[in-house]
Every structure is written in structure tokens, then in C-alpha cells.
């Protein structure tokens, strides 16, 4: 091997482009009154300061442009940054807004739907890394994620991860952990931890024949054993998320 080719091989390893999909919150702005906007934004953030702290954010300008509000993008960006959020892109901006955004180093994404009222003559795309930004908190569910079915007991210390739904036909012991991006069904005693919708699917549910779990969680909203009332223990229940809180109900 010659000296040169060694060098090339070494160089080739120093970087690599990859495509990744991220879940990023989108902020829809629907006013030109910046002081009102700032007040409401701070209010929202104070409801869950840890969640919003240094959170990446995509700014959606569709409403503003539909209502023909004139908003200075730089001022808007300043308000949002002041609130501690990090803007990683704008969406559905008009030509002027897109130009302003690129000037201050903010990437530009095209509008979500095709029938966008915003006229985009020549969509400006950032081609380096393709990032998809989902519109809602519910991520696009892949077409064919197979359901995982487990027929043997899941013992203490074991951990099961399912990319889709997870069905367990035997007991889940205390100290075991079952995790699914979709729903979880346990047709026996659930004594361990069960985490459904771990990629943020707030529609995911947990079903079990006998609730004795150490912890239950849906899309990051959790309850530990101590928080479970006696009325829901040791019986068949379903668990789902409603307005951000876990509801535990008898299976009728």
C-alpha cells in the first residue's frame, strides 16, 4: 500500500453525513402583537420550565402570513431566544422572512402542506442534512412495525423493547422493564415497569390483567406504584393519557 492511499483512507474516516429524524416542537405564531406574544410565551414556559429549557424549536409563520400580519422576524426571534428557546428553523415563511432567517443563520423549511397560501416561488432548501420536522406531537407511525409477542415470563432484570406494540402473554416480574413505542398488553400480572409510547405517542395505551406495576408511563408521563390507588390495583385495567395525565380505568 502506498503512502498516499493510506492518507486518503485516514482522511475518509474523519467525517460522515447521516440522515436522522428528530422530534422538535413547532411554535405557531398568530399575532403581530409582540408584547402579548411574549407574555403568553413566558406563561406557557413557566408551566413546564424544565421541558422548555434550551429546547430546540421550529417557528411556523403560516398563520402570520395568512392573516397578513407584518412582523419583524428579527424582533420575533429575539423574544423567543430571550425566553430560552433555541430556534433551529422557520417554516412557511415568505421570501423576505426566509431571506432574513438565512441572514441570521436560521435554516428555512418549506411549508408543511402543498396548499400553503404562502407563495414560494423558488423554495430555498438547506441541502446539507435532511431534517424532517413532524407537525404534531404524534410522530408519523411507520407503516409496518411488527407487533412483538412474548409468551414466556419476563423475569426481574430483563428488559424488552418493542418498536411497535408489545404483547406479553405471561407475567412481568418486579424489577423487569417492558418498553414499547406503541401499546403494551400484558395478559397476566404486571409487576415490573411498563413504558408505552416512549417515542412520544400520546395515544398509546397500556392494558393489563392484573395491575401491580412498579411504574407505568405513557409518552413520558409516569406514575410510580405509590401513586396507584387501591381501587385500581390487582385487577384488569387500561391506562391512557388524557390532557397530560394518566387515567387508569377498569376494562369493561
Amino acid at each position: 500500500m502506498s503512502q498516499d492511499s493510506k492518507k486518503t483512507a485516514k482522511l475518509a474516516n474523519t467525517l460522515e453525513f447521516k440522515t436522522s429524524t428528530f422530534s422538535v416542537p413547532v411554535l405557531l405564531v398568530a399575532t403581530d402583537d409582540l408584547s402579548l406574544f411574549e407574555k403568553q410565551l413566558v406563561q406557557k414556559i413557566n408551566q413546564a420550565p424544565e421541558f422548555f429549557k434550551n429546547s430546540p424549536l421550529v417557528l411556523d409563520l403560516q398563520e402570520i402570513n395568512i392573516q397578513n400580519h407584518k412582523v419583524d422576524l428579527n424582533a420575533l426571534v429575539a423574544v423567543i431566544r430571550k425566553a430560552g428557546l433555541l430556534i433551529v428553523g422557520i417554516r412557511a415563511g415568505n421570501d423576505l422572512q426566509n431571506k432574513q432567517a438565512l441572514e441570521i443563520g436560521i435554516p428555512v423549511y418549506p411549508a408543511q402542506d402543498r396548499e400553503s397560501v404562502v407563495e414560494v416561488k423558488k423554495p430555498i432548501r438547506v441541502q446539507v442534512v435532511k431534517a424532517q420536522v413532524p407537525t404534531s406531537t404524534r410522530p408519523d407511525i411507520k407503516e409496518s412495525v411488527p407487533t412483538t409477542i412474548i409468551t414466556h415470563p419476563i423475569r426481574s432484570g430483563q428488559r424488552i423493547y418493542a418498536a411497535g406494540d408489545l404483547i406479553v402473554m405471561a407475567q412481568v416480574s418486579a424489577g423487569a422493564e417492558i418498553i414499547a413505542e406503541g401499546n403494551i398488553h400484558v395478559y397476566s400480572s404486571l409487576r415490573g415497569r411498563a413504558l408505552a409510547g416512549v417515542q412520544g405517542d400520546i395515544e398509546a395505551r397500556i392494558f393489563c390483567f392484573d395491575l401491580q406495576a412498579e411504574l407505568i408511563s405513557i409518552a413520558g408521563n409516569y406514575k410510580v406504584s405509590e401513586d396507584l390507588s387501591v381501587s385500581v390495583r390487582n385487577k384488569p385495567v387500561q391506562i391512557y393519557l388524557q390532557d397530560g395525565s394518566l387515567i387508569i380505568k377498569d376494562i369493561v
Partner: protein
């Protein structure tokens, strides 16, 4: 075909070595050539329970390191000439065991023995892992107490995922539950988990319940496996365990407290 049996529990002090000694003796007494291996390298105990501590020359680690042959290291039991003991090394630690070495020793034993009983150390680290890795059957020894039950559950998880049979996608290890140090009186008082409580958590085939008994301590101190004390309840319970393991059906005798037991005996079933 030789069978490799691991006696395991996760938790220490629940009766693994007592059980290993008793069932190995029970199998040998029934005419099966049996070897029992102490995997607790560094904390050698099995030789004491078997009463052969004065005859140890070579040990398991010597055989693994090919410093001695298997025949040099195996000690024939003084009570039963079909039973052999392979003691652990007291001056080494678990790192002296290797998967390849253990596999080689077991393969060699399989040629000559019907049953090979592996007495696992406590814990889930190397020694315990290697004791269970090559097993065909597992006796999970559990005390009727929550921490022991949870540790057993953990071990069951490892048996079904980290053993050779699991890794090579073969038929899974046969798992049996052995409930030791059981006291029906204390279960009645609510001080101890009942057989049903334990079964509810582990849902495992119950091979036997060994009652809490003074005879176990006496047997350990005198270096004779408790199964040879045929008058003792623990000895009889182990005798039942061996019989059930070999396919006999026997009723469980030590689950009820003594009053209930005698009532059953005299009241005509």
C-alpha cells in the same frame, strides 16, 4: 445421556450447597453415577458438607488449568461409591474459571457420569454464570422471603437468556423450584411467604419444600449430606425431591404445619 444440573439462587445462604450435596447423594444412592462440582472458587464449602475436606489434593481450577487430570482431582464419597466430588480451589478466585475450561471439564465428566450437579456460588457474576451456562436442568433454591424470591426471579431471567441453551436456541433449561427453610407455623402467623405466594410470583414447577430443620445444621457440622438422615424431615423432603426429579409422583408432605400433617395422616387422607 448425561444431565448437567445447576443448583442456583442468586442470594447467598439459602441452602444451595446443602441442596447440591443432598440431591447428588440422593441420585447416587439410587444407582446413578453422579459428580458434584463446587463452583464457589475461593469460598470452598461443599467439601465440608460432604465431609471430604481432609482428602482434597487437586481441585477444579487445577483441572481447568490442566495441572491435574480429572481422575486425580475427583474425590470418591465415603458413603456412596457412585458419588464423586470435584472441590473448588480455596486459594483462587472466580476469575480462574474460564468458559472454555468449564465446558471441557463438563464434557469429560459427561462421558462417565449420569448426573453432574453444579453447586453455584451466590450472585450473578462469573462463577454463578459459568455454573449455570452449560446446565440442562436448574434447581432454583429459594427461601420464603421477598428478597430471596426476587433474586430467584432474576436468576430465572438469566437462565432463559444467558445460558448456552438460550444462546444456541436449543430447548430451554428445565427450571424447578425448591423452597427451603420453610416453616408452616411461621407462614400461618404471617411471618413468612407461603408456597402459594412464592408460586404466584415465580410460577415455576415446584419440586419440593424443605422444612426448616435442626437436622440440616447437624448434618453440615458432621459432614454428611442431610439426605442420609432418613429420620429427619429435611432428609425425607430431599428424598422426595430426588424421586420427583426422576419422574416419580409424590405428594408434598411439608407444606402443612405438623398438626395438619398428622390430621391428614390419621384422618384418612
Amino acid at each position: 445421556m448425561a444431565r448437567v444440573i445447576v443448583v442456583t439462587s442468586g442470594k447467598g445462604g439459602v441452602g444451595k450447597t446443602t441442596t447440591s450435596a443432598a440431591i447428588a447423594m440422593g441420585l447416587a444412592k439410587r444407582g446413578h453415577k453422579t459428580a458434584v462440582i463446587d463452583f464457589d472458587v475461593g469460598l470452598r464449602n461443599l467439601d465440608l458438607i460432604m465431609g471430604c475436606e481432609r482428602r482434597v489434593v487437586y481441585d477444579f481450577v487445577n483441572v481447568i488449568n490442566e495441572e491435574a487430570t480429572l481422575n486425580q482431582a475427583l474425590i470418591r464419597d465415603k458413603n456412596c461409591n457412585l458419588l464423586y466430588i470435584l472441590p473448588a480451589s480455596q486459594t483462587r478466585d472466580k476469575e480462574a474459571l474460564s468458559q472454555e475450561g468449564v465446558g471441557r471439564v463438563l464434557d469429560e465428566l459427561k462421558k462417565d457420569f449420569k448426573y453432574i450437579v453444579c453447586d453455584s456460588p451466590a450472585g450473578i457474576e462469573k462463577g454463578a454464570h459459568l455454573a449455570m451456562y452449560f446446565a440442562d436442568d436448574a434447581f432454583v433454591v429459594t427461601n420464603p422471603e421477598v428478597s430471596s424470591v426476587r433474586d430467584s426471579d432474576r436468576i430465572l431471567g438469566l437462565l432463559s437468556s444467558k445460558s448456552r441453551r438460550a444462546e444456541q436456541n436449543e430447548e430451554p433449561i428445565n427450571e424447578f423450584l425448591l423452597l427451603t427453610r420453610y416453616s408452616p407455623e411461621r407462614v400461618k402467623l404471617g411471618e413468612m411467604l407461603s408456597v402459594d405466594d412464592v408460586q404466584d410470583i415465580l410460577s415455576l414447577h415446584l419440586l419440593g419444600v424443605i422444612p426448616e430443620s435442626k437436622s440440616v445444621l447437624n448434618a453440615s457440622n458432621s459432614g454428611t449430606p442431610v439426605i442420609l438422615d432418613e429420620k429427619s424431615d429435611a432428609g425425607q423432603a430431599y428424598e422426595d425431591v430426588v424421586a420427583r426429579y426422576l419422574g416419580e409422583e409424590r405428594p408434598h408432605r411439608f407444606i402443612e404445619d405438623k398438626k395438619g400433617f398428622f390430621r391428614n395422616l390419621f384422618g384418612g387422607n
